[in-house]
Amino acid sequence: MVAAAQQAAPTISSLELFNITKRFPGVVANNRVSFEVRAGEVHALLGENGAGKSTLMKIIYGLYQPDDGQILLNGQPVTISSPQDAIARGIGMIHQHFMLVPSLTVAENVALGLKSSRGMRLDLDVVAAKVERLAASYGLRVDPRAEVSRLSVGEQQRVEIIKALYRGADLLVLDEPTAVLTPQEADDLFRMLRQMREEGRALIFISHKLREVLALCDRVTVLRDGRQVGTFPTAGMSRGELARLMVGREIAAPHAEDRAPVPVGPPLLQVRGLSSSAGAGGPALREVSFELSPGEILGLAGVSGNGQRELADVIAGLRPSSAGEISLGGAPLVGGPGERMAAGLSYIPEERMRDGAIMDFSVEENLILRDHTRPPYARGPFLDTARVSTVCRELITRFAVKTPGPQTPIKSLSGGNIQKVIMARELAREPRVLIAAQPTRGVDIGATAYIHRLLLDMRARGGAVLLISEDLDEILALADRIAVIHDGEIAAIMPRAEADPERIGLLMAGASTESLSH
């Protein structure tokens, strides 16, 4: 492959965006946004979903052209016409959804699109050697011959970064890079990024995680509703200040009194020795056991793809188990999803667009799904449209769903409001046990706070909640007890009071409890 100038001095000294405006039909995604990143700097781009971060990033990478404004590279006006153009200018991008070909090896992924030193024949051995050297210079181990689909998410991210560096990237744009990582993997990533900063590269770090922005970045540009709130040095900033800048108002974080102890009765949901065969993209469950009491939130922490979805699906009756038993309120929980619902179980699935709602249906239709064959929605075989309408209006008000009306197709709502509709439907049934899988993923801060409030309300009412989340902060804020899942097994269960983020992080990464005890 044509030698990339990875060891030469960086050629990008600054990238400046000046008054960038980008309009889409009905919305201004970026409205006169200006910011600048310099060599040797980590610059954060902070904002909620829909604030305009992705659009700005796609403009930098040549996927979109701005309607107005200028891009200056090293002080010279440039037009970045395509991703290939961006790569040629030394700009690399680490997408949130990796741009890797899973069936190819690491070396093949790196070689893709580059000229071979042997003409038509591939020179994968040459590429492999360079990849290993490049990885070693950051203290990483990467097997160039491994097939990407067999690598962990963290390893895949490293391949993405190496791929960009191989092509001589001096400026890296990282889109929510820690969303898929364990805390330890995130620490490794930060170490690597700091080294790149020392080498004089420029880094743009896109995130909505305030803690990370403060820990890693030198300056932060905050976006809100497509507009630039401002650019600030992070030194001396607090998380509260940043959150206020990002959201534009105070956000009430759950307070200690919200989690005041609720009298805990005998276990409501009991899971004993539950096993299942491996799912698509997930491991097999192995002898999972836990109990859930009324008035309790059990947080299930783990890196995505370690069996969380399989566990939730098995409990909800969507996936068969191979061994073990589940009981609810002392009675065995068996049968399909319908029977389990009738027994008092509710499930908020992880893939809410696919499993939680029917996107082409209206808000009202989604609200009555599942219960539409029963009163109050049905009278015999007929829908009682008047009652449906009344009840749905009540639910929309009670759960603060922002929608133009009950007949609006649900797909035109924001992620947060779709989730509120699903919560409304599930909680209106007053379940005894709620499984909430990734309930706030991709949801804006305001809706997140509201959803947290709903979960705490359920707990206060004496309901039991299994909260499955990849956001450790969320679990630490809400759970009474914390279970960690790794590779289909429960690694440990501990009371919140004894939980320590570092220990949980190591357990999520697969360290055994014994090795941690000394």
Partner: protein, 309 residues
Amino acid sequence: MEQLLTIGTLLGVLHSMIRLATPYLYAAIGETLGQRSGLLNLGVEGMMLMGAYVGFYVVFTTGSLLGGVLAAALAGALLGLMMALVSVTFRAEQGISGIGMYLFGLGLSSLLFKLTLGTVQSVSGFPEVPLPLLGSIPGIGPSLFTHSVMVYAAFALVPLAAYVLNRTTWGLNIRAVGDNPQAADALGVPVAAVRYATATIGGLLAGVGGASLSISALNIFQENLTGGIGFIAVALVYFGGWRPVGVLLGVLLFSFVSALQLWLQVTGVGLPSDLAVMLPYLLTILALAVSNRRAGQPSALTKPFTRGA
């Protein structure tokens, strides 16, 4: 029954297997390249028919075998190009447009057959030539290593296709485009161009596969000459796990059972003929059912590509 177990019978079955395998190999290897790049071409059968007709017609009128093969290749390639236009540029549903392409090839070859030939005619096609050295081995030489050059070329395609897919930059592009076109595009791989190329080559090989019937194996042309070979070839690509060598094994297995059932009938084993003729298809379905066919399926198969989507 004793007759079935003789060496002579076995060699006869193997000889038949190799001959029967030839058109399937051309079609299936071409289809493999297309599917690895994410294009499902269900129109192979129609392309084979056009290749069979055009190849036959050129040999019939000019007597040039080479001209016949080239013309068949050109006809197939043109249909492949049309398929690419419809499914890559116009992003049509590939299953539907493939069936359309099949009907188009079937109809056009039948129409041209009526207008130009009118009735079944024959030509003298490719002769059988023994392979140097191998062909002169007593016993197995004449049965296993004496075939027409169209047969040898079909088998030579397998390692060639495997080499191109696994060892060249072009093959890497094909595999990447079939599995994650977004990623390939971001790295400067011309997704549409790669798919146009594989569709055209797939059509070309289907056309030559059709000609391998009309000017090598049968030396006649008749309406619907291929009789479903193109569709079985598509199934064999799945069977072979999208790898040329796997496809070869699938083709050989299918052809072996097809040849075997003919021999079973000749030697009068007493198997009902209705059951015998079902054997190859039953076996294919069975093998498809038990094999882990999802492994290796290109993720972007049948999905049109849009930048930024």
